[in-house]
Symmetry: C2
Subunit: 355 residues, 2 copies
C-alpha cells in the first residue's frame, strides 16, 4: 500500500508534481478486540459490542504522528524549507526527525528533559535530529517553538501546522473504508488534542462525501493529572506516567470541545491506574502492546461502559496512538514478570514449566 497522501490523493487533491515525502505511512491494522468486548459484557453487562483497535503504533516511526508529518514535511519541502522544528513529548520529534531525514531537511527538536520515553529518545538520535532538552514541560517547549517560528527561518511542524491535522484525518477515512461505514463511537486519548480534532474532521468529511451513513460519537480521554479540558483550566504542572499525553494546555483545545459537542460525545478523564490496567489488559488478552498513553482510549471505553454511556450492539473504534516498544521501561516496571534464571538443563527446565 502506498502512503496515505497517495492512497487518498483524490481527497487531498494534490497536483501530479506535489513532492510527497513518504515512508508508506498509514493503512495500519484495525484489529478485532474480542477480549475487550467479552470483558465489558462480563463486568458491565453491555452486550454484543464490536470493538476494534486502530493500531497506529504500526506507522513507520511507531505513532500516529506520521500521518500528519508526511503532509507537513512534504509541504515544507515544496516551500523550500531548510529547517523544521517541533516541541515534543517524544512521538512528534521522532516523526519529524524521520521525515526530515528523508526529505534532506534539518530537524530541530525541543523536549522536556528526563520526561521522554527511552525509545523515543533513541529515535531522535538515530534519525540525526538536533536535540535541545529544557528544564520545562511540553507546554513551555511549545511556547518557545511558536516564538522561533516567528523568525521565518524555520517551519513549525507541531499540530499548530494545519497540514498535520489534515494528514491525521486519514485514520478516520481508513476506519470507514474498512468497516464500510463509520463506527458508532470513537474512543481516543487526548493530550494536545490534535488527533481528536483530526478524526472528527475526517469523519465529517467522509460523511459529507457520502462515504459513510453516520458520524461517530467522539469519546476523548485525558489523564487525570492533566485533564485541562475536563476541568476547564490550564494545568500548570501536568502529571501522568503516560508521557505522550502529559500536556496541561492543549493546542487544539477548542477542536476537542467542538468534536465532543458536535458529535454528542464526551471528554472524560482516566486515572494512571486505569490506564495501566487497560495497557496490561491489551497485551495479555489481545496480544497488542501499545504505549501507556494509547491505552487511555480503552480505559475510557471501560469507564464509559460502566457509566452506561455505550449502547448494546454498538461498533466501536479505539485509537492506539503509539507502539509499546517506545517505552520499554514502563512495560518492565508494570508487567508482572513470570521470569526465572536456570541452568541449561532439560530436566530442571521441564520441571520449572510443569511439563
Amino acid at each position: 500500500m502506498p502512503g496515505l497522501l497517495e492512497r487518498y490523493r483524490h481527497i487531498y487533491q494534490l497536483d501530479a508534481d506535489y513532492p510527497i515525502v513518504s515512508l508508506n505511512e498509514g493503512s495500519t491494522p484495525l484489529i478485532l478486540a474480542s477480549a475487550v468486548a467479552r470483558h465489558i459484557e462480563t463486568l458491565y453487562g453491555v452486550k454484543d459490542l464490536k470493538v476494534f483497535v486502530k493500531f497506529d503504533g504500526l506507522n513507520p516511526t511507531g505513532s500516529f504522528k506520521d500521518r500528519g508529518m508526511t503532509y507537513a514535511v512534504s509541504q515544507a519541502k515544496k516551500q523550500g524549507a531548510t529547517h523544521i522544528i517541533c516541541a515534543s513529548t517524544g512521538n512528534t520529534s521522532a516523526s519529524a526527525a524521520a521525515y526530515g531525514a528523508r526529505a534532506g531537511i534539518k530537524t530541530l527538536i525541543i523536549i522536556p528533559q528526563g520526561k521522554i520515553a527511552l525509545g523515543k529518545l533513541s529515535q531522535a538520535i538515530m534519525y540525526g535530529a538536533s536535540i535541545v532538552e529544557i528544564d520545562g514541560n511540553f507546554d513551555v517547549a511549545l511556547d518557545i517553538v511558536r516564538e522561533l517560528g516567528k523568525t521565518g527561518r524555520v517551519t513549525v511542524v507541531n499540530s499548530i501546522n494545519p497540514y498535520r491535522i489534515e494528514g491525521q484525518k486519514s485514520a478516520a477515512f481508513e476506519i470507514c473504508d474498512e468497516l464500510f461505514d463509520a463506527p458508532d463511537y470513537h474512543f481516543i486519548p487526548v493530550g494536545n488534542a490534535g488527533n481528536i480534532t483530526a478524526y472528527w474532521a475526517g469523519y465529517r468529511q467522509y460523511h459529507d462525501l457520502g462515504k459513510s451513513t453516520k458520524r461517530p460519537k467522539m469519546m476523548g480521554y485525558e489523564a487525570e493529572g492533566c485533564a485541562a479540558i475536563v476541568l476547564n483550566k490550564k494545568i500548570e504542572n501536568p502529571e501522568t506516567f503516560a508521557t505522550a499525553i502529559r500536556i496541561g494546555n492543549p493546542a487544539s483545545w477548542q477542536g476537542a470541545v467542538d468534536a465532543r459537542d458536535e458529535s454528542g460525545g464526551d471528554i472524560g478523564m482516566v486515572s494512571d491506574d486505569e490506564i495501566a490496567s487497560a495497557y496490561q489488559f491489551l497485551a495479555r488478552n489481545e496480544g497488542v502492546f501499545c504505549e501507556p498513553a494509547s491505552a487511555a482510549s480503552v480505559a475510557g471505553l471501560f469507564k464509559a461502559c460502566q457509566a452506561g454511556q455505550v449502547k448494546q450492539g454498538a461498533t466501536i473504534a479505539c485509537t492506539l496512538t503509539g507502539n509499546g516498544l517506545k517505552d520499554p521501561d514502563s512495560a518492565i516496571r508494570l508487567g508482572e514478570a513470570d521470569r526465572a534464571t536456570l541452568p541449561a538443563d532439560v530436566a530442571r527446565i521441564q520441571a520449572h514449566f510443569g511439563l
Copy 2:
C-alpha cells in the same frame, strides 16, 4: 488489510472453519530507498538501481516472526494445544507470546540470559509469557526446546515448525504483488536461516503459479562473528552486537544453501562495523529505523555492489526484519547524538540552533 492467512487464503488453501489467530500481520511497507541507490552509484558506480526495503519491523510485534507465528499458533489452536514453547534471541519469543496471549494458549520461552535487547524482553513480559533465562546461547536453548517438544505436552513454535516457514513465504508474495513481478536480487539477513528459506520457497511458488516472470538471486548475509554457513562450520561461541542473528548453528542451514545454489545467489558475511554503518545510514538518510541485525541486508547490498556482484539497473528488495525500537540501547550507544541541555530561554535556544 486482513492478516496474511486471510489475504493469501487462496494460496494457503484453508478451510472456511480454520481457526485463524491473527493480529492483521503482514502487508508491511515496501519503501523506496533512493538514498541507498544514490550512495551506491557514488561509491561503487553501479547505476540506476531501484532499491526497496521491505520493512517487516512494522508487523504487530515489530518483526517478521509474526508472519510464521500466525500460522503456527493457528495450527496449535486447531490441534487443541494448551502450551507453546520456543527458544529465542528475542523476536520469536515476543511474537509467540503475543499470538499465544491472543489464542488463550500459555507461552513458554527460553532465552540466553543478558543477550536479549531491552524492547524484546519488555514484550515477553507484557504479553504474559513464562520466561526462563539460561546461561547458554540460542543454539543451546533451541536444543532444550527440541527435547521438551518430544514430551508431546507442548508445541514447538521455532522455525523447525513447518508452519512458520509457510507463513513467512507471504513476504515474497507481497513484494511480487507490489512490484508486479519478482525483484532481480533479494538481500536478507541470515541468522537461523528460516527466513531466507521461506522467501525462496515463496518466490518459487509465485513463479510456479505464473504470478511472476522471474525469480530473484537470493543474497543472504551472516554476521562475521557467527558466519557458520559461509565458513561451513558450526560456531561454538557466536558473537555480534546484532543479537537477532547471533546464532552459530542455523536450524535451516540446508534451506539457505539451497536458496543460494538454486537462485544463483550468494551467502556472504558482514562485519559488525558494516552492519552498524548501514543501520545508521538507513535512519539518517532514509528515515527508516530498523534493528541492527536487519541492516545486515543493506550492508550486504553495499558489499555486493563493491564486489561487482550487482548489475546496473536492477530491481532490489532488502528485508528489514525488525523494528529499531526493539533495541533502543544500541541506537543510543551508536547514534552520534547532537544533544544539548539548555534553560527554557528563547534567545539561548535560537542561538544554539543558529536561527
